[in-house]
Amino acid sequence: MPDATGLELIAQRVRDRLGGEAVRDTVFFRGEATLEVAPEAVRATLAFLRDEDAEPWESLMSVHGCDYLPDEPRFGVHYQLLSMERTDRLNVKTRVGIEDPSLPTVVDMFPTAEYQEREIYDMFGVVFDGHPDPRRILMPEDYEGFPQRRDFPMGGEPVLYTFNEDSYPRWYD
Protein backbone atom coordinates (compact mmCIF):
# COMPACT_ATOMS: atom_id res chain seq x y z
CA MET A 1 0.00 0.00 0.00
CA PRO A 2 1.19 3.53 -0.56
CA ASP A 3 1.53 5.23 2.81
CA ALA A 4 -0.49 8.30 3.75
CA THR A 5 2.07 10.61 2.15
CA GLY A 6 2.20 8.53 -1.01
CA LEU A 7 -1.57 8.72 -1.27
CA GLU A 8 -1.50 12.51 -1.00
CA LEU A 9 1.15 12.63 -3.71
CA ILE A 10 -1.00 10.49 -6.00
CA ALA A 11 -4.00 12.71 -5.25
CA GLN A 12 -1.94 15.78 -6.05
CA ARG A 13 -0.79 14.32 -9.38
CA VAL A 14 -4.40 13.53 -10.27
CA ARG A 15 -5.44 17.06 -9.31
CA ASP A 16 -2.64 18.56 -11.38
CA ARG A 17 -3.69 16.57 -14.39
CA LEU A 18 -7.48 16.68 -14.13
CA GLY A 19 -8.19 19.79 -12.11
CA GLY A 20 -8.90 20.27 -8.43
CA GLU A 21 -12.49 19.07 -8.68
CA ALA A 22 -11.54 15.54 -9.67
CA VAL A 23 -10.40 14.34 -6.25
CA ARG A 24 -13.05 14.55 -3.57
CA ASP A 25 -11.22 12.99 -0.67
CA THR A 26 -8.37 10.78 0.38
CA VAL A 27 -8.81 8.17 3.08
CA PHE A 28 -6.00 6.27 4.68
CA PHE A 29 -7.43 3.60 6.95
CA ARG A 30 -5.66 0.57 8.45
CA GLY A 31 -2.93 0.79 5.87
CA GLU A 32 -5.34 0.93 2.96
CA ALA A 33 -5.27 3.89 0.60
CA THR A 34 -8.53 5.11 -0.89
CA LEU A 35 -8.80 7.90 -3.39
CA GLU A 36 -12.32 9.24 -3.70
CA VAL A 37 -12.97 10.89 -7.04
CA ALA A 38 -15.92 12.63 -8.65
CA PRO A 39 -18.08 10.30 -10.75
CA GLU A 40 -17.48 12.26 -13.95
CA ALA A 41 -13.73 12.03 -13.40
CA VAL A 42 -13.53 8.33 -12.67
CA ARG A 43 -12.66 7.27 -16.21
CA ALA A 44 -10.07 9.97 -16.64
CA THR A 45 -8.56 9.16 -13.26
CA LEU A 46 -8.28 5.48 -14.02
CA ALA A 47 -6.82 6.21 -17.44
CA PHE A 48 -4.31 8.59 -15.88
CA LEU A 49 -3.34 6.13 -13.16
CA ARG A 50 -2.99 3.31 -15.65
CA ASP A 51 -1.07 5.00 -18.42
CA GLU A 52 0.44 8.34 -17.48
CA ASP A 53 1.19 8.31 -13.80
CA ALA A 54 4.79 8.06 -12.69
CA GLU A 55 3.77 5.01 -10.67
CA PRO A 56 1.39 3.19 -12.98
CA TRP A 57 -1.38 0.89 -11.75
CA GLU A 58 -1.80 -1.52 -14.61
CA SER A 59 -4.26 -4.04 -13.21
CA LEU A 60 -7.81 -3.72 -12.03
CA MET A 61 -8.37 -6.60 -9.68
CA SER A 62 -11.90 -6.01 -8.54
CA VAL A 63 -14.86 -3.67 -8.80
CA HIS A 64 -17.17 -3.55 -5.82
CA GLY A 65 -20.56 -2.00 -5.51
CA CYS A 66 -21.77 -0.73 -2.19
CA ASP A 67 -24.88 0.95 -0.82
CA TYR A 68 -24.39 3.47 1.96
CA LEU A 69 -28.11 3.86 2.49
CA PRO A 70 -28.65 6.69 4.97
CA ASP A 71 -25.79 8.64 3.40
CA GLU A 72 -25.95 10.60 0.20
CA PRO A 73 -24.87 10.03 -2.52
CA ARG A 74 -26.03 6.53 -1.93
CA PHE A 75 -23.99 4.16 -4.03
CA GLY A 76 -20.29 3.60 -3.92
CA VAL A 77 -18.30 1.93 -6.65
CA HIS A 78 -14.78 0.87 -5.74
CA TYR A 79 -12.06 0.06 -8.24
CA GLN A 80 -9.28 -2.01 -6.72
CA LEU A 81 -6.10 -1.19 -8.59
CA LEU A 82 -3.00 -3.30 -8.31
CA SER A 83 0.55 -2.80 -9.40
CA MET A 84 2.23 -6.16 -9.75
CA GLU A 85 5.63 -4.55 -10.09
CA ARG A 86 5.45 -2.59 -6.86
CA THR A 87 3.11 -5.14 -5.18
CA ASP A 88 0.91 -2.32 -4.14
CA ARG A 89 -2.80 -1.66 -4.08
CA LEU A 90 -4.89 1.47 -4.44
CA ASN A 91 -8.62 1.79 -4.05
CA VAL A 92 -10.31 4.34 -6.30
CA LYS A 93 -13.78 5.07 -5.06
CA THR A 94 -16.63 7.09 -6.41
CA ARG A 95 -20.12 7.85 -5.16
CA VAL A 96 -23.28 8.23 -7.26
CA GLY A 97 -26.73 9.21 -6.12
CA ILE A 98 -30.00 7.36 -6.66
CA GLU A 99 -31.43 10.04 -9.00
CA ASP A 100 -28.95 9.30 -11.73
CA PRO A 101 -27.00 6.18 -10.84
CA SER A 102 -24.77 6.03 -13.88
CA LEU A 103 -21.06 5.87 -14.46
CA PRO A 104 -18.93 5.59 -17.58
CA THR A 105 -17.74 2.08 -18.24
CA VAL A 106 -14.08 1.14 -18.02
CA VAL A 107 -14.39 -2.12 -19.94
CA ASP A 108 -12.37 -0.78 -22.88
CA MET A 109 -9.47 0.04 -20.56
CA PHE A 110 -9.81 -2.98 -18.28
CA PRO A 111 -11.62 -5.86 -20.02
CA THR A 112 -11.80 -7.65 -16.69
CA ALA A 113 -14.44 -5.18 -15.54
CA GLU A 114 -17.04 -6.56 -17.93
CA TYR A 115 -18.60 -9.12 -15.58
CA GLN A 116 -18.02 -7.04 -12.53
CA GLU A 117 -19.79 -3.97 -13.89
CA ARG A 118 -22.65 -6.18 -14.98
CA GLU A 119 -22.82 -7.56 -11.46
CA ILE A 120 -22.98 -4.06 -9.99
CA TYR A 121 -25.75 -3.13 -12.39
CA ASP A 122 -27.55 -6.32 -11.47
CA MET A 123 -27.25 -5.85 -7.75
CA PHE A 124 -27.43 -2.08 -7.30
CA GLY A 125 -28.85 -0.66 -10.51
CA VAL A 126 -25.82 1.46 -11.27
CA VAL A 127 -25.82 1.82 -15.06
CA PHE A 128 -22.46 1.74 -16.81
CA ASP A 129 -22.74 3.85 -19.95
CA GLY A 130 -21.07 2.31 -22.95
CA HIS A 131 -20.85 -1.20 -21.52
CA PRO A 132 -20.75 -3.69 -24.40
CA ASP A 133 -23.28 -6.08 -22.89
CA PRO A 134 -25.37 -4.25 -20.30
CA ARG A 135 -27.60 -7.09 -19.14
CA ARG A 136 -28.18 -8.68 -15.79
CA ILE A 137 -25.68 -11.35 -14.94
CA LEU A 138 -26.61 -13.27 -11.80
CA MET A 139 -30.32 -12.59 -11.43
CA PRO A 140 -32.81 -13.73 -14.09
CA GLU A 141 -33.09 -11.32 -16.96
CA ASP A 142 -36.73 -10.51 -16.25
CA TYR A 143 -36.11 -9.84 -12.57
CA GLU A 144 -37.38 -6.58 -11.20
CA GLY A 145 -35.50 -4.61 -8.59
CA PHE A 146 -31.92 -4.54 -7.45
CA PRO A 147 -31.49 -7.01 -4.63
CA GLN A 148 -28.30 -5.79 -2.99
CA ARG A 149 -29.71 -2.37 -2.22
CA ARG A 150 -30.07 -1.89 1.49
CA ASP A 151 -33.77 -1.06 1.23
CA PHE A 152 -34.51 -4.23 -0.72
CA PRO A 153 -36.12 -6.69 1.71
CA MET A 154 -34.73 -10.15 2.33
CA GLY A 155 -37.01 -13.04 1.43
CA GLY A 156 -40.71 -12.86 0.71
CA GLU A 157 -40.35 -13.62 -2.96
CA PRO A 158 -42.67 -16.18 -4.50
CA VAL A 159 -40.76 -19.22 -5.65
CA LEU A 160 -41.86 -20.81 -8.85
CA TYR A 161 -42.54 -24.55 -8.79
CA THR A 162 -44.50 -26.75 -11.15
CA PHE A 163 -47.42 -26.93 -8.76
CA ASN A 164 -47.90 -23.17 -8.58
CA GLU A 165 -46.82 -22.06 -12.00
CA ASP A 166 -50.44 -21.47 -13.02
CA SER A 167 -50.84 -18.87 -10.31
CA TYR A 168 -48.22 -16.65 -11.95
CA PRO A 169 -49.84 -15.43 -15.12
CA ARG A 170 -47.63 -15.76 -18.19
CA TRP A 171 -44.48 -16.36 -16.15
CA TYR A 172 -42.96 -18.01 -19.20
CA ASP A 173 -43.01 -14.75 -21.17
Partner: protein, 427 residues
Protein backbone atom coordinates in the same frame (compact mmCIF):
# COMPACT_ATOMS: atom_id res chain seq x y z
CA UNK B 1 -25.91 -4.16 -29.56
CA UNK B 2 -26.68 -0.54 -28.78
CA UNK B 3 -30.03 -0.52 -30.56
CA UNK B 4 -31.06 -3.73 -28.82
CA UNK B 5 -33.25 -2.85 -25.87
CA UNK B 6 -33.92 -5.85 -23.63
CA UNK B 7 -36.96 -4.27 -22.00
CA UNK B 8 -40.17 -5.35 -23.62
CA UNK B 9 -38.70 -8.27 -25.49
CA UNK B 10 -40.18 -11.61 -24.37
CA UNK B 11 -37.92 -13.80 -22.31
CA UNK B 12 -37.69 -16.58 -24.87
CA UNK B 13 -36.74 -14.05 -27.51
CA UNK B 14 -34.06 -12.63 -25.25
CA UNK B 15 -32.54 -16.05 -24.82
CA UNK B 16 -31.98 -16.09 -28.53
CA UNK B 17 -30.56 -12.62 -28.36
CA UNK B 18 -27.05 -13.79 -27.70
CA UNK B 19 -26.51 -15.35 -31.08
CA UNK B 20 -23.95 -13.89 -33.40
CA UNK B 21 -26.29 -11.71 -35.41
CA UNK B 22 -27.59 -10.10 -32.24
CA UNK B 23 -24.08 -9.45 -31.06
CA UNK B 24 -23.61 -7.32 -34.14
CA UNK B 25 -20.57 -9.27 -35.22
CA UNK B 26 -19.86 -10.40 -38.68
CA UNK B 27 -21.14 -13.93 -39.13
CA UNK B 28 -18.16 -16.18 -39.64
CA UNK B 29 -19.48 -17.70 -42.78
CA UNK B 30 -22.65 -18.95 -44.30
CA UNK B 31 -25.36 -17.60 -42.03
CA UNK B 32 -27.06 -16.70 -45.27
CA UNK B 33 -28.97 -19.46 -47.03
CA UNK B 34 -26.67 -22.47 -47.34
CA UNK B 35 -25.86 -23.86 -50.71
CA UNK B 36 -27.92 -26.91 -51.50
CA UNK B 37 -26.08 -30.08 -50.63
CA UNK B 38 -23.37 -28.36 -48.65
CA UNK B 39 -24.51 -27.74 -45.11
CA UNK B 40 -21.13 -27.63 -43.44
CA UNK B 41 -21.10 -23.87 -43.38
CA UNK B 42 -24.20 -23.56 -41.32
CA UNK B 43 -23.74 -22.07 -37.86
CA UNK B 44 -25.37 -23.98 -35.09
CA UNK B 45 -26.11 -22.46 -31.71
CA UNK B 46 -26.42 -24.93 -28.90
CA UNK B 47 -26.97 -24.69 -25.19
CA UNK B 48 -24.05 -26.34 -23.52
CA UNK B 49 -25.43 -26.91 -20.05
CA UNK B 50 -26.74 -25.76 -17.57
CA UNK B 51 -26.93 -29.45 -16.71
CA UNK B 52 -23.97 -30.97 -18.40
CA UNK B 53 -21.44 -33.10 -16.54
CA UNK B 54 -18.51 -31.31 -18.14
CA UNK B 55 -19.52 -27.84 -16.96
CA UNK B 56 -18.53 -28.57 -13.35
CA UNK B 57 -21.74 -27.23 -11.93
CA UNK B 58 -24.64 -25.35 -13.43
CA UNK B 59 -22.87 -23.30 -16.03
CA UNK B 60 -24.65 -22.60 -19.26
CA UNK B 61 -22.55 -21.90 -22.30
CA UNK B 62 -24.33 -20.61 -25.35
CA UNK B 63 -22.03 -22.04 -27.95
CA UNK B 64 -22.04 -21.23 -31.62
CA UNK B 65 -20.57 -24.01 -33.69
CA UNK B 66 -19.46 -24.16 -37.25
CA UNK B 67 -19.31 -27.86 -37.82
CA UNK B 68 -17.16 -29.05 -34.97
CA UNK B 69 -15.40 -25.74 -34.49
CA UNK B 70 -16.42 -23.41 -31.70
CA UNK B 71 -16.92 -19.93 -33.10
CA UNK B 72 -18.36 -18.18 -30.11
CA UNK B 73 -19.03 -18.87 -26.46
CA UNK B 74 -21.25 -16.86 -24.18
CA UNK B 75 -21.18 -18.01 -20.58
CA UNK B 76 -24.54 -17.50 -18.90
CA UNK B 77 -24.28 -17.72 -15.15
CA UNK B 78 -26.45 -17.19 -12.14
CA UNK B 79 -28.12 -20.58 -11.87
CA UNK B 80 -26.79 -21.16 -8.37
CA UNK B 81 -27.00 -17.55 -7.26
CA UNK B 82 -28.24 -17.81 -3.71
CA UNK B 83 -27.65 -14.27 -2.56
CA UNK B 84 -24.95 -15.15 -0.07
CA UNK B 85 -23.64 -11.59 -0.07
CA UNK B 86 -27.12 -10.31 0.75
CA UNK B 87 -27.52 -12.87 3.52
CA UNK B 88 -24.21 -11.81 5.02
CA UNK B 89 -25.59 -8.33 5.63
CA UNK B 90 -28.18 -9.82 7.94
CA UNK B 91 -25.75 -11.82 10.08
CA UNK B 92 -23.40 -10.95 12.87
CA UNK B 93 -19.76 -10.85 11.91
CA UNK B 94 -18.88 -14.18 13.43
CA UNK B 95 -21.84 -15.91 11.77
CA UNK B 96 -20.93 -14.64 8.32
CA UNK B 97 -18.00 -17.08 8.19
CA UNK B 98 -20.49 -19.90 7.75
CA UNK B 99 -21.96 -18.15 4.74
CA UNK B 100 -18.81 -17.15 2.92
CA UNK B 101 -17.40 -20.65 3.26
CA UNK B 102 -20.17 -21.88 1.01
CA UNK B 103 -19.17 -19.71 -1.95
CA UNK B 104 -16.22 -21.56 -3.41
CA UNK B 105 -17.19 -24.91 -1.95
CA UNK B 106 -13.93 -26.68 -2.74
CA UNK B 107 -11.72 -24.00 -1.20
CA UNK B 108 -13.72 -23.16 1.89
CA UNK B 109 -10.73 -22.37 4.08
CA UNK B 110 -9.68 -19.63 1.70
CA UNK B 111 -13.05 -17.92 1.71
CA UNK B 112 -13.07 -17.93 5.49
CA UNK B 113 -9.49 -16.71 5.50
CA UNK B 114 -10.15 -13.72 3.25
CA UNK B 115 -13.20 -12.74 5.24
CA UNK B 116 -11.56 -13.19 8.65
CA UNK B 117 -8.52 -11.24 7.54
CA UNK B 118 -10.71 -8.37 6.35
CA UNK B 119 -12.56 -8.23 9.67
CA UNK B 120 -9.29 -8.52 11.59
CA UNK B 121 -8.00 -5.59 9.60
CA UNK B 122 -11.06 -3.52 10.46
CA UNK B 123 -10.76 -4.47 14.12
CA UNK B 124 -7.01 -3.99 14.00
CA UNK B 125 -6.23 -7.14 15.97
CA UNK B 126 -3.23 -9.41 15.85
CA UNK B 127 -3.50 -13.10 15.11
CA UNK B 128 -1.18 -15.18 17.31
CA UNK B 129 1.64 -16.95 15.47
CA UNK B 130 0.35 -20.43 16.24
CA UNK B 131 -2.98 -19.56 14.66
CA UNK B 132 -1.21 -18.20 11.60
CA UNK B 133 0.74 -21.42 11.17
CA UNK B 134 -2.34 -23.56 11.72
CA UNK B 135 -4.17 -21.48 9.13
CA UNK B 136 -1.36 -21.96 6.66
CA UNK B 137 -1.30 -25.73 7.26
CA UNK B 138 -5.04 -26.02 6.73
CA UNK B 139 -5.08 -23.78 3.69
CA UNK B 140 -2.32 -25.70 1.98
CA UNK B 141 -4.02 -29.01 2.72
CA UNK B 142 -7.15 -27.47 1.29
CA UNK B 143 -5.23 -26.40 -1.79
CA UNK B 144 -4.14 -29.98 -2.32
CA UNK B 145 -7.70 -31.23 -1.87
CA UNK B 146 -9.09 -28.60 -4.23
CA UNK B 147 -6.51 -29.23 -6.95
CA UNK B 148 -7.01 -32.97 -6.60
CA UNK B 149 -10.73 -32.69 -7.07
CA UNK B 150 -10.32 -30.31 -9.98
CA UNK B 151 -7.85 -32.66 -11.57
CA UNK B 152 -10.05 -35.69 -10.89
CA UNK B 153 -13.17 -34.24 -12.46
CA UNK B 154 -11.17 -32.60 -15.22
CA UNK B 155 -9.62 -35.91 -16.14
CA UNK B 156 -13.05 -37.50 -16.07
CA UNK B 157 -14.20 -34.99 -18.68
CA UNK B 158 -11.35 -36.11 -20.89
CA UNK B 159 -12.16 -39.78 -20.40
CA UNK B 160 -9.46 -40.66 -17.88
CA UNK B 161 -11.79 -42.17 -15.33
CA UNK B 162 -9.05 -43.80 -13.24
CA UNK B 163 -7.90 -40.35 -12.24
CA UNK B 164 -11.35 -39.64 -10.82
CA UNK B 165 -11.10 -42.54 -8.39
CA UNK B 166 -7.51 -41.79 -7.49
CA UNK B 167 -8.10 -38.10 -7.03
CA UNK B 168 -11.19 -38.57 -4.90
CA UNK B 169 -9.45 -41.29 -2.88
CA UNK B 170 -6.58 -38.97 -1.97
CA UNK B 171 -8.80 -35.96 -1.43
CA UNK B 172 -10.60 -38.08 1.13
CA UNK B 173 -7.38 -38.41 3.07
CA UNK B 174 -7.26 -34.63 3.37
CA UNK B 175 -10.91 -34.48 4.36
CA UNK B 176 -10.18 -37.03 7.10
CA UNK B 177 -7.54 -34.68 8.43
CA UNK B 178 -10.01 -31.78 8.38
CA UNK B 179 -12.55 -33.92 10.18
CA UNK B 180 -10.04 -34.72 12.86
CA UNK B 181 -8.93 -31.14 13.47
CA UNK B 182 -12.17 -29.25 13.02
CA UNK B 183 -15.00 -31.75 13.20
CA UNK B 184 -16.21 -31.29 9.64
CA UNK B 185 -15.05 -32.62 6.33
CA UNK B 186 -16.17 -29.60 4.34
CA UNK B 187 -17.27 -26.14 5.46
CA UNK B 188 -15.59 -26.61 8.83
CA UNK B 189 -15.82 -23.03 10.12
CA UNK B 190 -12.45 -23.62 11.71
CA UNK B 191 -11.06 -20.15 11.10
CA UNK B 192 -12.41 -17.52 13.42
CA UNK B 193 -11.93 -13.80 13.58
CA UNK B 194 -8.69 -13.58 15.54
CA UNK B 195 -7.40 -17.11 15.08
CA UNK B 196 -8.77 -20.64 14.88
CA UNK B 197 -11.49 -22.17 17.03
CA UNK B 198 -9.50 -25.01 18.57
CA UNK B 199 -5.99 -26.23 18.89
CA UNK B 200 -5.17 -29.28 16.81
CA UNK B 201 -5.96 -32.54 18.59
CA UNK B 202 -3.19 -34.90 19.72
CA UNK B 203 -2.21 -37.25 16.94
CA UNK B 204 -3.21 -34.89 14.14
CA UNK B 205 0.36 -33.92 13.38
CA UNK B 206 1.39 -37.57 13.00
CA UNK B 207 -1.52 -38.21 10.69
CA UNK B 208 -0.66 -35.20 8.56
CA UNK B 209 2.95 -36.33 8.31
CA UNK B 210 1.75 -39.74 7.20
CA UNK B 211 -0.27 -38.06 4.48
CA UNK B 212 2.61 -35.81 3.47
CA UNK B 213 4.78 -38.88 3.06
CA UNK B 214 2.46 -40.62 0.63
CA UNK B 215 1.34 -37.52 -1.28
CA UNK B 216 4.50 -37.00 -3.39
CA UNK B 217 4.41 -40.68 -4.35
CA UNK B 218 0.80 -40.33 -5.35
CA UNK B 219 1.64 -37.28 -7.46
CA UNK B 220 4.26 -39.36 -9.27
CA UNK B 221 1.64 -42.01 -9.85
CA UNK B 222 -0.70 -39.45 -11.41
CA UNK B 223 2.06 -38.26 -13.66
CA UNK B 224 2.85 -41.84 -14.65
CA UNK B 225 -0.79 -42.35 -15.45
CA UNK B 226 -1.44 -39.11 -17.31
CA UNK B 227 1.79 -37.48 -18.35
CA UNK B 228 2.84 -40.39 -20.56
CA UNK B 229 -0.58 -40.95 -21.99
CA UNK B 230 -0.73 -40.10 -25.66
CA UNK B 231 -4.40 -39.18 -25.59
CA UNK B 232 -3.97 -36.96 -22.54
CA UNK B 233 -1.02 -35.14 -24.08
CA UNK B 234 -2.68 -34.64 -27.42
CA UNK B 235 -5.81 -33.29 -25.86
CA UNK B 236 -4.02 -30.83 -23.61
CA UNK B 237 -0.89 -29.71 -25.42
CA UNK B 238 -1.43 -26.62 -27.50
CA UNK B 239 -5.13 -26.30 -26.72
CA UNK B 240 -6.83 -23.46 -24.92
CA UNK B 241 -3.98 -21.07 -25.57
CA UNK B 242 -4.12 -17.64 -24.03
CA UNK B 243 -1.35 -15.08 -24.09
CA UNK B 244 0.03 -13.52 -20.96
CA UNK B 245 -1.03 -10.02 -22.01
CA UNK B 246 -4.59 -11.10 -22.62
CA UNK B 247 -4.70 -13.00 -19.33
CA UNK B 248 -3.52 -9.93 -17.46
CA UNK B 249 -6.05 -7.73 -19.25
CA UNK B 250 -8.84 -10.09 -18.27
CA UNK B 251 -7.72 -10.11 -14.66
CA UNK B 252 -6.99 -13.83 -14.74
CA UNK B 253 -5.01 -14.94 -11.69
CA UNK B 254 -3.87 -18.15 -10.09
CA UNK B 255 -2.65 -21.24 -11.93
CA UNK B 256 -4.13 -19.94 -15.18
CA UNK B 257 -1.95 -16.86 -15.10
CA UNK B 258 1.09 -18.76 -13.86
CA UNK B 259 0.69 -21.23 -16.73
CA UNK B 260 1.31 -18.33 -19.11
CA UNK B 261 4.67 -17.72 -17.43
CA UNK B 262 3.79 -14.89 -15.08
CA UNK B 263 5.04 -15.73 -11.57
CA UNK B 264 2.31 -13.80 -9.76
CA UNK B 265 1.49 -15.45 -6.48
CA UNK B 266 0.11 -13.41 -3.59
CA UNK B 267 1.75 -15.75 -1.10
CA UNK B 268 5.12 -14.59 -2.40
CA UNK B 269 4.29 -11.11 -3.63
CA UNK B 270 2.27 -9.78 -0.72
CA UNK B 271 2.73 -12.34 2.06
CA UNK B 272 0.03 -12.67 4.68
CA UNK B 273 -0.37 -15.02 7.63
CA UNK B 274 3.40 -15.66 7.94
CA UNK B 275 3.83 -16.98 4.39
CA UNK B 276 7.14 -15.13 4.32
CA UNK B 277 8.48 -17.72 6.80
CA UNK B 278 8.07 -20.59 4.38
CA UNK B 279 10.39 -21.74 1.68
CA UNK B 280 8.55 -22.72 -1.47
CA UNK B 281 8.68 -22.16 -5.20
CA UNK B 282 6.12 -20.76 -7.57
CA UNK B 283 5.78 -23.13 -10.50
CA UNK B 284 5.09 -21.48 -13.84
CA UNK B 285 4.31 -22.72 -17.32
CA UNK B 286 5.72 -21.65 -20.64
CA UNK B 287 2.98 -21.58 -23.23
CA UNK B 288 -0.27 -20.93 -21.43
CA UNK B 289 -2.01 -23.99 -22.80
CA UNK B 290 -4.07 -26.58 -20.98
CA UNK B 291 -1.10 -28.83 -20.44
CA UNK B 292 0.78 -26.09 -18.59
CA UNK B 293 -2.24 -25.53 -16.38
CA UNK B 294 -2.29 -29.20 -15.51
CA UNK B 295 1.42 -29.27 -14.75
CA UNK B 296 1.33 -26.06 -12.72
CA UNK B 297 -1.39 -27.52 -10.52
CA UNK B 298 0.54 -30.76 -10.00
CA UNK B 299 3.68 -28.86 -9.06
CA UNK B 300 1.70 -26.54 -6.79
CA UNK B 301 0.54 -29.57 -4.84
CA UNK B 302 4.17 -30.56 -4.33
CA UNK B 303 4.94 -27.09 -3.04
CA UNK B 304 1.93 -27.24 -0.75
CA UNK B 305 3.26 -30.49 0.72
CA UNK B 306 6.51 -28.66 1.44
CA UNK B 307 4.71 -25.76 3.08
CA UNK B 308 2.60 -28.00 5.33
CA UNK B 309 5.73 -29.85 6.38
CA UNK B 310 7.44 -26.59 7.32
CA UNK B 311 4.35 -25.36 9.11
CA UNK B 312 4.31 -28.49 11.26
CA UNK B 313 8.05 -28.34 11.91
CA UNK B 314 7.97 -24.72 12.96
CA UNK B 315 4.59 -24.68 14.66
CA UNK B 316 4.99 -22.11 17.46
CA UNK B 317 3.66 -22.74 20.92
CA UNK B 318 1.11 -20.41 22.41
CA UNK B 319 -2.51 -19.43 22.04
CA UNK B 320 -4.42 -20.29 18.87
CA UNK B 321 -6.85 -17.41 19.09
CA UNK B 322 -6.49 -13.81 20.12
CA UNK B 323 -6.89 -13.09 23.83
CA UNK B 324 -9.04 -10.06 23.03
CA UNK B 325 -12.19 -11.11 24.85
CA UNK B 326 -14.28 -8.57 23.00
CA UNK B 327 -13.77 -10.59 19.84
CA UNK B 328 -13.00 -14.19 20.74
CA UNK B 329 -14.97 -16.47 23.01
CA UNK B 330 -13.36 -17.10 26.42
CA UNK B 331 -12.08 -20.63 27.08
CA UNK B 332 -14.80 -22.94 28.26
CA UNK B 333 -13.30 -23.66 31.68
CA UNK B 334 -13.30 -19.99 32.61
CA UNK B 335 -17.06 -19.78 32.40
CA UNK B 336 -17.43 -21.70 35.65
CA UNK B 337 -15.12 -19.46 37.65
CA UNK B 338 -15.10 -16.00 36.08
CA UNK B 339 -18.03 -13.63 35.93
CA UNK B 340 -16.30 -11.51 33.28
CA UNK B 341 -15.84 -14.52 31.06
CA UNK B 342 -19.51 -15.34 31.42
CA UNK B 343 -20.50 -11.80 30.46
CA UNK B 344 -18.16 -11.79 27.49
CA UNK B 345 -19.48 -15.16 26.36
CA UNK B 346 -23.06 -13.98 26.67
CA UNK B 347 -22.45 -10.71 24.82
CA UNK B 348 -20.53 -12.40 22.04
CA UNK B 349 -23.12 -15.10 21.46
CA UNK B 350 -26.18 -12.89 21.66
CA UNK B 351 -25.01 -9.66 20.11
CA UNK B 352 -21.69 -10.42 18.51
CA UNK B 353 -18.90 -7.92 18.43
CA UNK B 354 -19.07 -4.47 16.96
CA UNK B 355 -16.62 -3.40 14.32
CA UNK B 356 -15.55 0.24 13.96
CA UNK B 357 -16.73 1.91 10.74
CA UNK B 358 -14.42 1.48 7.80
CA UNK B 359 -13.73 -0.42 4.63
CA UNK B 360 -11.18 -3.13 4.02
CA UNK B 361 -10.19 -5.25 1.03
CA UNK B 362 -8.04 -8.28 1.65
CA UNK B 363 -6.90 -10.73 -0.99
CA UNK B 364 -5.51 -14.22 -0.50
CA UNK B 365 -4.17 -16.70 -3.03
CA UNK B 366 -6.84 -19.33 -3.36
CA UNK B 367 -6.35 -22.44 -5.55
CA UNK B 368 -7.97 -20.50 -8.38
CA UNK B 369 -6.34 -17.13 -7.98
CA UNK B 370 -6.88 -13.93 -6.10
CA UNK B 371 -9.75 -14.34 -3.71
CA UNK B 372 -10.51 -10.94 -2.30
CA UNK B 373 -12.99 -9.98 0.36
CA UNK B 374 -14.30 -6.46 0.67
CA UNK B 375 -16.03 -5.67 3.93
CA UNK B 376 -17.73 -2.40 4.80
CA UNK B 377 -18.44 -1.88 8.49
CA UNK B 378 -20.87 0.74 9.75
CA UNK B 379 -20.13 0.39 13.45
CA UNK B 380 -22.85 -2.16 14.18
CA UNK B 381 -22.52 -5.88 14.85
CA UNK B 382 -23.43 -6.76 11.27
CA UNK B 383 -21.43 -5.93 8.16
CA UNK B 384 -22.91 -3.34 5.83
CA UNK B 385 -21.47 -5.06 2.79
CA UNK B 386 -19.50 -8.21 2.13
CA UNK B 387 -18.31 -8.58 -1.42
CA UNK B 388 -16.14 -11.42 -2.55
CA UNK B 389 -14.01 -11.11 -5.62
CA UNK B 390 -14.12 -14.73 -6.57
CA UNK B 391 -11.36 -15.91 -8.89
CA UNK B 392 -13.68 -18.32 -10.73
CA UNK B 393 -16.02 -15.45 -11.60
CA UNK B 394 -13.26 -13.36 -13.13
CA UNK B 395 -11.37 -16.25 -14.71
CA UNK B 396 -14.49 -17.44 -16.48
CA UNK B 397 -14.27 -14.37 -18.72
CA UNK B 398 -11.23 -15.89 -20.36
CA UNK B 399 -13.13 -18.99 -21.52
CA UNK B 400 -14.36 -17.45 -24.81
CA UNK B 401 -10.80 -16.39 -25.60
CA UNK B 402 -9.45 -19.85 -24.93
CA UNK B 403 -12.12 -21.77 -26.74
CA UNK B 404 -12.68 -19.62 -29.80
CA UNK B 405 -11.81 -21.35 -33.05
CA UNK B 406 -10.93 -24.62 -31.39
CA UNK B 407 -12.60 -27.99 -31.66
CA UNK B 408 -15.50 -28.66 -29.35
CA UNK B 409 -13.48 -31.49 -27.78
CA UNK B 410 -10.76 -28.99 -26.84
CA UNK B 411 -13.44 -26.73 -25.47
CA UNK B 412 -14.23 -29.46 -22.92
CA UNK B 413 -10.55 -29.61 -22.02
CA UNK B 414 -10.55 -25.82 -21.57
CA UNK B 415 -13.42 -25.92 -19.08
CA UNK B 416 -11.78 -28.83 -17.28
CA UNK B 417 -8.47 -27.01 -16.89
CA UNK B 418 -10.10 -23.64 -16.18
CA UNK B 419 -11.67 -25.41 -13.18
CA UNK B 420 -14.41 -22.90 -12.36
CA UNK B 421 -16.44 -23.46 -9.21
CA UNK B 422 -19.94 -22.32 -9.91
CA UNK B 423 -20.73 -21.76 -6.26
CA UNK B 424 -18.02 -19.13 -6.34
CA UNK B 425 -19.05 -17.72 -9.70
CA UNK B 426 -22.66 -17.16 -8.71
CA UNK B 427 -22.34 -16.74 -4.95
Amino acid sequence: MTEFDPVGVPYRERERSVTMERMGEEPVSGTEAPVEGDRHDELLTINFGPHHPATHGVLRLLTTLEGEVVRDVKPIIGYVHTGIEKSCEDQQYWKVITFVERMDYLAYYFNAMAYCMAVEKLLDIEVPPRAQYLRVAHMELNRIASHLFGLATGALDLGAITMLWWGCRDRDLVLDLFEMSSGQRIHPRYFQVGGVIEDIPPGWEAKVREFLKIMPERLDQYLNLLDRNEIWLQRLKGTGLITQERALELGVTGPLLRATGHPWDLRKAMPYSSYEHFDFDVPIGLHGDNYDRFKVRIEEMRESVKIVEQALDGLPEGPWITDNRKVALPPRHELATSMEALIHHFKLVTEGFRVPPGEAYVAVESPRGELGCFVVADGSAKPARVHVRDPSFVNLQSLPDMAKDSLIADFIACIAMLDPILGGVDR
